[in-house]
């Protein structure tokens, strides 16, 4: 009891206590459906319960862009992308296939978009890894730079 109370006061048990359940089919604007009473929006943020999915970007531009602020899965959800859009019908398979990603994000466009990246273009690697979006871009856990396995290319990965 005592140890738990101390840990709790230090915030060390919080991650466990706060691990949200993931509910399919709930609009991403309904934070409480998954997060319960936990405060996930910054203090003073406007009530988004009635906001339309996809409307976040009207306020969140430039400095306040949601890029890197929210897990990618949330950004997709807030843009109106549903579980089925990536995972197909039925119970979601373990991983969405890259085909689902490139259906919206054409590979050519991605290659062009990152052409000026420092050191190397992450979407034009010679190992063919770029074809597997899942290597770097995660939806339900933090994304990671797979190239760092062997190289020191330091790119932010959305």
């Amino acid at each position: 009891m005592k140890v738990a109370a101390i840990l709790l006061s230090l915030g060390m048990l919080l991650p466990l206590a706060a691990a949200p359940k993931r509910l399919a089919g709930v609009p991403a604007t309904q934070c409480a459906a998954c997060h319960g009473k936990e405060k996930v929006l910054p203090a003073g943020h406007e009530d988004i319960r009635k906001a339309k999915s996809g409307s976040c970007a009207t306020c969140h531009t430039g400095e306040t862009s949601l890029r890197a602020r929210l897990p990618l899965g949330h950004r997709h959800a807030l843009a109106g992308v549903t579980c089925q859009d990536c995972h197909g019908k039925g119970k979601p398979a373990a991983k969405a296939r890259p085909e689902a990603c490139v259906a919206c994000h054409a590979m050519d466009a991605l290659v062009a978009k990152t052409a000026q990246a420092k050191d190397h273009n992450p979407h034009a690697d010679q190992h063919g890894y770029a074809a597997n979006c899942n290597l770097c871009h995660h939806q339900h856990k933090p994304s990671k730079n797979h190239c760092l396995t062997c190289h020191s290319y330091n790119w932010p990965v959305p």
Binding site: A94, Q126, H127, G128, Y129, N132, N134, C150, H151, S152
Partner: protein
């Protein structure tokens, strides 16, 4: 009484049947659970197989993919199992240099060569530990195999360039257009995909099932495995009707296993290999009775740096500038410690011995020496901080904590050697293994440049003992293990003590193809 009785009767049972049943009795209980806990005879097959293929291949590098292609083309049903989230292992990150003796490109360039000469070069470097039959086969098949990668897979090589890697007596190595093994692996993957075979990624092979009759009959895997979490994924069994091909590569990244083979290779020694180059399958192959040979011949590259990952760019500076036209120094003493032009093994061993005594070693060159490097390389190396520049020898000594007087004396001594010898035939008292390169000059032109030296584990020469049919041999009978084939860096005996650069790719392709086609030809069981 009754206790004693049952004890007696149990002893009686073991006494009578133990010799045959002991191993079985030990392992009948854990069953489908997990890999056996120790090196026990475990001939228990799973109660049911989840899937069945003719040929089941472990590993998706050059060797595994070559095996898959030949087996599939021969009509076998094939699955390729790969534990990592990406296919290609070390093969897809390799340097793309491939040897071929007596090739059309050599003919075009007027270079005389033969499989016999290639075999000789391999045996000289390998200190004669190489198994001659394997070396002969690979040398003889080298040219036709490279031509096969061009005609069958569509691999693109540089048109007018051959490489002469250290230890080869002639220029004989093709170079892929992008200086990477990916130029071979990606076409292999594409060809296989067209035949309906795609490697199953994140599928970790945990166990080989070898039956009481001695035959290998299938594998246990963890599907959905997340490297390196040993218990991740779901256990599943896969039956191999004709054969299993072990093409799981080397163990360059497995510190525990490599320290058993060569205790010098502590965690301080990094590796040029992909992180999944670990030894689980080496242990499992031993457990089921493969003969692992020459496992302690592990190639370490002496030229790498602790200040960048993997192979990186430091070897260009440390080798092409500091080793050829400069010196390597033990920073702890300020003195030179090795013939800078000796072979990779001699130099790497020397550095590792010093490191394990807490010493640090550096590669040192002056402005004139680095002027010979490929344009652009020094810019990158300095920008990344892998090579540092200094305006005086004293500043170098300060930066690396060297005893100043000793270091100044070391440089002065080297400079005297060079200055006092004929510029056309420069001589030094430490670089004695070969002629010094023309144009060697005293080290006296600032700025001075330094990279730190950290040998990195590069290649495993040893491995599963196979015959020229790529059959894995049984450790007790020296006969092929039925249903088991092996190829690539997972096998031993081809390269002996030292693998020559560019000979690994050709080994993997020749023996991988043999393993795949022979497995497809094997008699099916059950």
């Amino acid at each position: 009484m009754s206790d004693e009785k049952s004890g007696l009767s149990r002893r009686g049972f073991l006494g009578a049947g133990g010799a045959i049943m002991g191993g079985l009795a030990l392992t009948q209980l854990p069953l489908d659970g997990a890999a056996p806990k120790g090196a026990v005879v475990d001939s228990t097959l799973p109660r049911k197989w989840d899937e069945t293929f003719d040929v089941v291949i472990v590993g998706s590098g050059f060797a595994g993919l070559a095996a898959a292609y030949e087996a599939r083309k021969a009509g076998a049903s094939v699955v390729v199992l790969e534990k990592m989230p990406t296919p290609g292992g070390n093969s897809i990150i390799n340097g793309g240099i491939v040897s071929a003796a007596g090739s059309p490109l050599q003919a075009k360039m007027g270079i005389k060569d033969s499989p016999e000469l290639m075999a000789k070069d391999m045996m000289v470097a390998g200190l004669g530990l190489n198994h001659p039959g394997l070396v002969k086969l690979i040398s003889e098949k080298s040219t036709e195999t490279v031509l096969w990668t061009i005609s069958e897979l569509g691999v693109k090589y540089l048109d007018n360039e051959l490489v002469q890697e250290g230890g080869h007596t002639v220029k004989r190595s093709y170079k892929t257009y992008n200086s990477s093994g990916s130029a071979i692996v990606l076409p292999q993957l594409a060809k296989l995909k067209a035949l309906g075979v795609e490697p199953r990624l994140e599928t970790f092979v945990t166990k080989i099932y070898r039956d009481k009759d001695g035959r290998v009959k299938g594998l246990q895997v963890r599907e959905g495995y997340e490297f390196p979490k040993a218990d991740s994924g779901k256990l599943k069994t896969i039956r191999a009707r004709k054969g299993v091909v072990l093409a799981h590569g080397g163990f360059g990244q497995d510190v525990a296993y490599r320290m058993i083979q060569d205790p010098k290779l502590t965690a301080k020694v990094e590796s040029t290999n992909q992180p999944g180059a670990t030894a689980e399958m080496w242990r499992e192959a031993s457990r089921i009775g493969c003969n692992i040979i020459q496992g302690d011949w592990i190639q370490v590259g002496p030229w790498a740096s602790p200040d960048e990952k993997g192979f990186g760019l430091a070897p260009h500076f440390a080798q092409e500038a500091a080793s050829m036209y400069g010196i390597w120094v033990d920073a702890t003493t300020g003195k030179r410690f090795i013939d800078e032009l000796a072979n990779r093994k001699i130099r790497a061993d020397a550095i590792m011995m010093l490191m394990n005594q807490g010493h640090k070693c550096i590669a040192f060159a002056d402005a004139k020496a680095v002027s010979r490097l490929t344009p652009g390389v020094m810019d990158k190396l300095q920008k990344s901080g892998v090579v540092k520049a200094f305006n005086s020898l004293e500043a170098v000594a300060d930066a690396y904590g060297m005893p100043k007087a000793a270091f100044l004396e070391t440089v002065a001594k080297y400079n005297t050697n060079i200055r006092n010898s004929d510029p056309k035939d420069p001589k030094d008292d430490i670089k004695v293994s070969t002629k010094l390169p023309q144009g060697t000059l005293p080290l006296e032109t600032a700025p001075f440049y330094v990279s730190r030296l950290l040998p990195k584990v590069h290649h495993c020469m040893g491995g599963i003992y196979t015959n020229t049919e790529a059959q894995a041999m049984d450790v007790s009978t020296d006969k092929p293990i039925e249903g088991l084939y092996a190829a690539g860096e997972a096998t031993g005996g081809v390269h002996g003590a030292v693998r020559l650069g560019s000979c690994a790719v050709i080994d993997c392709l020749v023996m991988g193809r043999a393993a795949g086609s022979n497995a497809a030809k094997a008699k099916a069981w059950g």
